[in-house]
Symmetry: C2
């Protein structure tokens, strides 16, 4: 059966020239409304200050007419997710986030619920990385060892959030973002990598994938040079399993 | 018994204003001479073109009066390392490197031989990361899943190579290097992190640790703000097990 997945994947929560999440306000609001959702569970696992982080997000999204609660305030995370209709996973460290999702047995649970259409997903930065096939193309430091790099797999490719194609400076000899992504693509079974510029949003709607937000994306694959996509582009071809 | 370790840990092989490895020529040459070494095994595992990478390094170091051979040219890597007196592990991707070291059963073998003084170690970039306690503070993308983030552990702390304290640009909202290191330091049991600027070399000599090369380092720890160290600094206190 075709997946009934519904997801919004943001490159980041911050975008130059906007307040926190402001660039995504219209998309998030209409996404929640179309899915008849008023209540949203926020998952602050990518950072350590669960209360502080949840409050920061709640202060923004509650003003739009929704009600945000932190997953950490429920006695059992598994039960809370089982009973919820919508989640938002925020950014921070991708390794820490994925480790905590596995520890709380949430990875497979989320995948099943998203596939059958009973849970809708919003992710930002690290929360977008874990929504993909794997976290192989995160920018984050591997500060903790997760049981796997495989992730929730709402989409069958990888994402590089906060994508930027500039080098740090001309004298620095560290690798550029594009070199790092090219290294990944040399690996066996590497999936295509979509670099989401800050301000870009991917809207996953069953078998449709549309690029939204205020900034575009760059696709890297083994067989082709990188290709640029602008806001509005139809990227549904990326949902075909490789 | 005190470790008889002998190692040179380079932040990188390239440094602005120098040809490949040129900034480290005097240190590497005298290190090998003091240890009566003429032959050096180069380990190209952090990259995929073993022949090409080895040739690049050999072309430089052989001119200094030594003989470099690639580990991949020996029938059994374990036997080759058992019988060698000196190795140089080059840069590339830290995850790929560590995965291949584990796959070839070299991590524990190297550690034992280095501790008892029968093997001396030179590392650069990824080759420096795997020489430390763990690879938790590499800058590289996690392009492959290694069986552990624990590494050879010649020194009991972590290193961030290619250390730079500039932000990518002022409009970019991705995390800075310092923020990433700070996230690591929030983890339980986090070791101190020494950020090695490009051109910095750590000389490990038993219980002595001296900062050499042409550029300094920055130390990050849980208890203190970051502190700068210049070339020539005695960092032996970092060798005390935490």
């Amino acid at each position: 059966m075709a997946s009934r997945r519904q997801a919004l994947l943001l490159s980041s929560s911050n975008c130059h020239g906007y307040n926190l999440l402001e660039f995504a306000k219209a998309e998030i609001s209409s996404f929640l409304q179309r899915n008849n959702v008023k209540d949203l569970i926020f998952i602050p696992y990518a950072q350590n200050d669960f209360d502080g982080y949840t409050t920061k997000i709640k202060n923004v999204i509650d003003q739009w007419g929704f009600t945000v609660t932190g997953l950490h305030t429920y006695p059992k995370p598994e039960t809370a997710i089982s009973e919820s209709k919508a989640i938002f996973i925020g950014g921070g460290n991708t390794f820490l986030l994925l480790k905590r999702l596995y520890k709380n047995n949430l990875v497979q649970l989320m995948k099943s619920k998203i596939d059958d259409g009973s849970l809708i997903y919003i992710g930002s930065s690290a929360g977008t990385n874990v929504a993909t096939k794997s976290i192989h193309t995160t920018n984050d430091m591997p500060i903790i060892y997760p049981p796997s790099f495989e992730a929730i797999g709402i989409v069958p490719f990888n994402i590089n959030p906060h994508y930027i194609d500039k080098v740090e400076n001309e004298e620095h000899k560290g690798e550029t973002r594009d070199q790092r992504i090219a290294e990944y693509l040399e690996m066996q079974h590497a999936a295509p990598v979509l670099g989401l510029k800050e301000g870009a949003i991917l809207h996953v709607d069953g078998s449709k994938l549309i690029l939204k937000g205020v900034n575009g994306a760059v696709l890297f694959s083994r067989s082709q040079k990188k290709s640029e996509y602008n806001v509005g582009a139809d990227l549904s071809f990326l949902l075909n399993e490789i």
